[in-house]
């Protein structure tokens, strides 16, 4: 069972390097999505913001008052740095008017994170097949080769795993 966000933050504060790696792993996709899909930053700008976010997270983790709230804290930090980056490239518009280019995308990113948390509770085989197809755009052939399964079986496996994911989320909502 994976550590909660609060447990992860606690271990990072104690200098646990593995915990820091796990924190980066847990939130790297989230930060990346906010940059490129929420704010539509160009690749170089997104990279600058990405590194800046994690540098500040590392330097300021001690200032976090509620360890369990690390995700909204990271989201707020990322949004602010994205706006700063946009403002530094635009000499005319005030920062307050540089809204995220897609508020709908921001809400979707938050929902996507919750879905990934549910995904993490599925069997490893399902996590792999769903992540490879939907998030990594791998072909049935590539997925089959990676998981040592016939390419012709992958579509059916994806369907069954999606159903398990839906049931996992329904179970969470009822709880």
């Amino acid at each position: 069972m994976q550590l909660t966000d609060a447990e992860l933050v606690h271990r990072c504060r104690e200098g646990d390097v593995e915990a820091w790696n796990a924190l980066v792993e847990r939130f790297s996709r989230y930060v990346y999505a906010i940059c490129v899909q929420g704010f539509r930053l160009r690749e170089q700008d997104a990279e600058d913001v990405f590194q800046d976010v994690f540098t500040r997270v590392y330097e300021r983790l001690d200032s976090l008052r509620n360890d369990a709230a690390v995700r909204p804290w990271i989201a707020q930090l990322t949004r602010r740095l994205c706006l700063d980056k946009l403002a530094s490239g635009s000499r005319e518009e005030p920062v307050e008017e540089l809204a995220p280019s897609d508020d709908g995308a921001m809400a979707d990113i938050e929902e996507a994170f919750a879905v990934r948390e549910a995904l993490a509770e599925l069997p490893e085989a399902c996590q792999e097949v769903l992540d490879r197809f939907f998030a990594k755009d791998e072909s049935y052939r590539t997925i089959g080769a990676a998981l040592d399964l016939p390419a012709g079986t992958i579509a059916s496996r994806i369907s069954r795993c999606l159903r398990k994911l839906r049931e996992q989320l329904e179970g969470r909502n009822e709880a």
Binding site: F133, F134, D137, S139, Y140, R141, A151, G152, A155, S156, I158, S159, R160, C161, L162, R163
Partner: protein, 196 residues
């Protein structure tokens, strides 16, 4: 036109763009959009099959995913081919070695994207064949049509991989493209045989 997201383009404008030659959409873009049409048909049949087939919703999700995967490739391939044409025309900075390296990179890119289209189209054909076999009877012929369309897109894209790779005929990319085309053709045959 090459930088445009083709989801936002009117169909008539896209068709007009095809008649104009480069810059603008060409054969590989048309193949990508054909694959997208096929994916949409598969989504439709899968949705109509929700009450009769347990995996229908999952199939629809995959079809939508493949459609979303292939449409940006229509734009990307047009841009890549335009860049390759410019490089072939000598519009590069730097000395001969640097220009050759840039040309090599641009030609590779112009083959890499059609390869991605071929592989996505093959998956659409595979998925269409499954839907043609297990989906709701009334709509199975649409799934079969989708498989044939996707197979055509895969075949066309594999052709562009071969053309754009030029003399590198033993390239791993070409092998993958041909494998995708063959797999898509097999899937189309199965889909047509599945019957209503």
């Amino acid at each position: 036109m090459p930088e445009t997201d083709y989801r936002d383009v009117r169909l008539g404008d896209f068709l007009e763009g095809l008649t104009g030659g480069a810059p603008g959409p060409g054969g590989a873009s048309a193949a990508a959009m054909t694959a997208a049409f096929a994916a949409s048909l598969v989504t439709m049949v899968a949705r109509k099959s929700a009450d009769s087939w347990a995996e229908a919703a999952g199939a629809a999700a995959q079809a939508r995913g493949l459609e979303a995967r292939v449409i940006p490739l229509a734009t990307a391939t047009a841009a890549a081919w335009e860049a390759a044409l410019e490089a072939l025309g000598g519009a590069q900075d730097g000395g001969p070695a640097e220009r050759n390296a840039q040309l090599e990179e641009k030609l590779a890119r112009s083959a890499e994207i059609p390869l991605a289209i071929a592989e996505a189209a093959a998956d659409i054909a595979r998925l269409a064949a499954v839907v043609a076999e297990l989906g709701e009877g009334t709509y199975r012929s649409d799934a079969a049509a989708a498989a044939v369309l996707a197979a055509g897109a895969a075949r066309a894209s594999a052709h562009f991989v071969a053309i754009n790779l030029g003399t590198r005929r033993d390239d791993e990319w070409l092998r993958r493209a041909v494998a995708s085309s063959d797999a898509a053709a097999d899937a189309a045959s199965r889909a047509l045989d599945a019957g209503p």
